[in-house]
């Protein structure tokens, strides 16, 4: 059965209860039940939740084979917590473990080994990279993996599609009662937004920290009332990789050109007025938009109202220079962002739920004016792939992409037309992560295309003298440079479901077939 993005959803998936995607606003106005967890009463006899070892905490939580454990990804490529916890679970002999991560990547490659040997049999995550992605793409994971957006993950936890038995929350600092923070420690990460829903809905919560501080560790991102145990380790992560050195804007002329054209398009839209809101990513052209945005704001004596999302130093500097009123932080990428959060009252954090939960009474991004996103592939229907690479292997992340694209008044994709020999603009993306109905404008180094659904934007951009190109022309141009690609060959077996933010199926990922030159 085909969904609204034109993707075939296999019978076997529909039989399990999954529904095909019907468009970004299909669930707007509907009601649903939140599902809480069975919880324990502790109102007497416990002055400290600190235990001497991870083993004690795991056993204290009643860990069993087949249970679901969860992790956040605020320590990014510098994370040690996933590795430490999973190795301990393996050591203690647990099997058939399901993992519910907000993202998982190069720092946790041991999970790839555990997928291959069957210790880990289930996975839901937003980002999936390196050997873990390869293991799933090669069919090594027993269950079908589920890829979710940041907002979708929150929804899934709250409505009970994800049931977390133990949430392991790595925290730069914690007191003995579980009030855990992304700051105040020796390896700070800034906000802990992606762990907050886990803390509230998991059956058990274990805080893993390398810096114990006196009670009460307030303000804290994780509230101690939800925490079962606190465990200390030597290091929760690699400082340099948790928050990289202050991000600098690219000098790559191509990225700069794309960024400049993007901002020109933004200026031509009716949303460009005093107090507008803005979100952008950390890719080359994405973060470079801040450079040109500055100039436009200064020239017009304008200010942005707020910036939301993953934060890096260029955004903090805009705030310091009075070009934006405040920053709503969901994740910190570099040391500049970490330092600013909480110290500057205009820079505060919000939970993943506040940020992007689609099943809420109105997340922040509902009010977002512009979001700038990148893409691995965009097809002629404006569907976007940020998940599978040029070899069909899982190596990306929906992240906040589907959430912000669907919510912002204007979603702009910035990307080079080709990357090496890979055409970014193509006939049909390998995997749909964000459907075309959420994508408004495409800015490449070879031209700008507007989704035909947005004739209003076609009008205002044309009026401003911005030359527009048909997306099919861009595709043709890409193919004329790199040649028309053959399709990647897959086996029939579905190895992952790409879940849309509302819980429906956006697309499926199948097991890759190795290339045989003699085919």
């Amino acid at each position: 059965m085909k969904n609204s993005a034109g993707r075939e959803i296999p019978e076997e998936i529909l039989k399990k209860g999954w529904k095909p995607h019907q468009g970004k606003d299909a669930y707007n106005g509907t009601e649903f039940n939140k599902v809480g967890t069975r919880a324990k009463v502790i109102n007497r006899g416990q002055e400290s939740k600190l235990v001497g070892s991870l083993e004690e905490a795991i056993k204290g939580c009643g860990m069993q084979d087949g249970m679901t454990v969860s992790f956040h990804h605020h320590f990014r490529d510098g994370d040690y917590v996933v590795d430490i916890v999973m190795r301990e679970l393996k050591r203690l002999g647990y099997k058939d473990i399901k993992m519910a991560c907000s993202s998982i990547g190069s720092a946790s490659q041991v999970v790839a080994d555990y997928i291959e040997d069957g210790t880990v049999t289930g996975l839901t995550t937003s980002g999936i990279r390196d050997r873990i992605g390869e293991a799933v793409s090669n069919g090594k994971l027993k269950d079908v993996a589920v890829l979710r957006s940041h907002g979708g993950r929150v929804r899934a936890i709250e409505e009970g599609s994800i049931v977390i038995d133990i949430a392991f929350i790595g925290a730069p600092s914690s007191d003995e009662y579980g009030n855990a923070s992304g700051k105040n420690g020796k390896n700070n990460c800034g906000s802990l937004s992606y762990a907050e829903t886990d803390a509230m809905y998991a059956k058990h919560v274990v805080v893993v920290t390398d810096t114990l501080v006196p009670f009460p560790n307030k303000p804290s991102h994780i509230e101690g009332v939800y925490v079962d145990y606190v465990v200390t380790v030597d290091e929760i992560g690699n400082n340099k990789k948790i928050a990289s050195a202050a991000a600098r804007i690219t000098t790559n002329p191509k990225d700069l050109k794309i960024a400049e054209d993007c901002v020109k398009a933004m200026v031509a839209m009716p949303y460009f007025k005093d107090g507008f809101s803005f979100q952008t990513g950390v890719g080359g052209p994405s973060i470079a938009t801040t450079l040109f945005l500055r100039e436009e704001l200064k020239e017009r004596n304008m200010k942005m109202g707020w910036i939301v999302g993953g934060i890096s130093t260029p955004m903090v500097e805009m705030m310091k220079d009075g070009l934006v009123n405040c920053i709503a932080d969901v994740q910190d990428f570099d040391t500049g962002a970490v330092a600013s959060l909480g110290t500057d009252p205009r820079h505060f954090d919000i939970s993943a739920a506040e940020y992007a939960n689609p099943f809420s009474k109105g997340a922040f991004i509902n009010k977002l004016d512009y979001v700038i996103l990148s893409a691995l592939e965009v097809d002629v229907d404006f569907n976007v792939n940020v998940l599978t690479g040029s070899d069909g292997v899982l190596r990306g992340a929906p992240g906040g992409h589907p959430d912000t694209a669907a919510s912002a008044k204007c979603c702009i994709i910035v990307t080079p037309l080709v990357r090496g020999r890979i055409p970014t603009i193509c006939d049909r993306v390998v995997t749909v992560t964000t459907a075309g109905d959420a994508i408004d404008v495409l800015v490449t180094d070879y031209g700008i295309a507007v989704n035909p659904m947005r004739q209003d934007l076609v009008e205002c951009l044309t009026k401003a003298g911005i030359k527009l190109t048909d997306i099919k022309t861009l595709r043709d141009k890409a193919y004329s440079i790199v040649g028309k690609p053959d399709d990647i060959q897959f086996h029939d077996r579905v190895v992952a479901i790409v879940e849309a933010r509302d819980g429906t199926v956006m697309d499926v990922v199948r097991q890759i077939k190795p290339f045989d030159i003699n085919d």
Binding site: T251, P253, K254, L256, K257, G420, D445, Y446, S480, I481
Partner: protein, 307 residues
């Protein structure tokens, strides 16, 4: 006239060349993007950017890139190796075979150098079935001798469309460092513009290698523009906009030029040859300058009027 070449007045010789950007043939990931930044001309380099033992590979890269990739109407020039190397003959052959628009003769010191290349180009045009005269030439002047021979070099072949100063090598020969704000190149620049104008050719200034000093670059560009240069060699896309902005007539200059042209025409119809406009004396001599301003404005894409 070059031997055997059939020359007509070639409009390609006077095309807009405010920026001539060097592009490497050695590195494939740089070979297809340059046009995106819209310089007026591209110079594919077979000379200094290519290692000695990769000259052959660079030629194959050049040939196939020019044959397959779309450069969207940008002028394609090639800097070939100098005449004191064993490479220039094959360089000439591949350039003509590929159908590039013109060849930049590196380290061109004398008019004879130009004639030698002209002959080789003519032979190659015959060998590869290219229209005689379709390949233009320009000379890079990189030594005091070359600068002193500038006029002769310009006149040495009807294929010649311009001369360029190559500052790095020139300074090396002059034993100067560029201190004093470029005063060491003053005479060379002056002589070159004089020679080019006398010969009816274009004149281009040297590259500016300090990519971070955009202010210094702009200053130098303003200087050479005021001296009468037609354009500047570019090594990085960031420099392009600066040159184009400086070389593009301002709205004020355009309006003034329009008024001059209209006034001269109107007065001519009334039989008046000399008159006053805005407090200045004008006669027909001013027509050419005003028309040139409008032509430059049109070519730069900023003039949409009908004069």
């Amino acid at each position: 006239m070059g031997k055997g070449a059939v020359m007509k007045v070639d409009p390609r010789k006077n095309r807009l060349r405010r920026t001539m950007m060097f592009a490497s043939t050695q590195r494939p990931n740089l070979i297809r993007d340059p046009y995106l930044f819209a310089p007026d001309s591209l110079i594919f380099d077979l000379e200094d950017a290519v290692a000695e033992n990769q000259k052959d590979a660079a030629r194959f890269s050049l040939y196939h890139a020019v044959q397959s990739l779309d450069y969207h109407g940008l002028e394609k020039l090639v800097r070939i190796n100098a005449l004191d190397t064993p490479h220039w003959q094959e360089d000439v052959r591949v350039c003509v075979a590929a159908g590039v628009d013109g060849i930049r003769i590196a380290k061109c010191d004398t008019a004879d150098n130009v004639r030698t290349i002209d002959e080789a180009v003519t032979a190659a045009e015959t060998e590869f079935g290219r229209e005689p005269g379709s390949t233009l030439l320009m000379a890079a002047l990189e030594s005091p001798l070359a600068v002193l021979n500038a006029y002769e070099i310009c006149k040495a072949s009807p294929r010649m469309f311009g001369i360029a100063l190559s500052g790095g090598d020139f300074r090396r020969c002059m034993h100067t460092t560029g201190a004093g704000g470029g005063v060491d190149m003053q005479t060379a620049r002056g002589l070159m513009v004089l020679s080019a104008r006398a010969a009816g050719l274009q004149c281009f200034d040297t590259v500016y290698t300090n990519l971070d000093d955009l202010e210094g670059f702009a200053k130098e560009t303003q200087l050479i523009k005021d001296m009468g240069f037609d354009g500047k060699s570019i090594v990085n896309p960031r420099q392009i906009k600066i040159v184009h902005d400086l070389f593009t007539p301002s709205r004020k200059e355009i309006e003034e030029a329009e008024r001059v042209v209209i006034a001269i025409r109107e007065n001519a119809e009334k039989g008046i040859g000399i008159f006053q406009l805005d407090g200045k004396m004008l006669d027909i001599a001013f027509m050419e300058g005003a028309e040139r301003t409008l032509a430059l404005a049109k070519a730069s894409g900023v003039y949409k009027g009908d004069l």
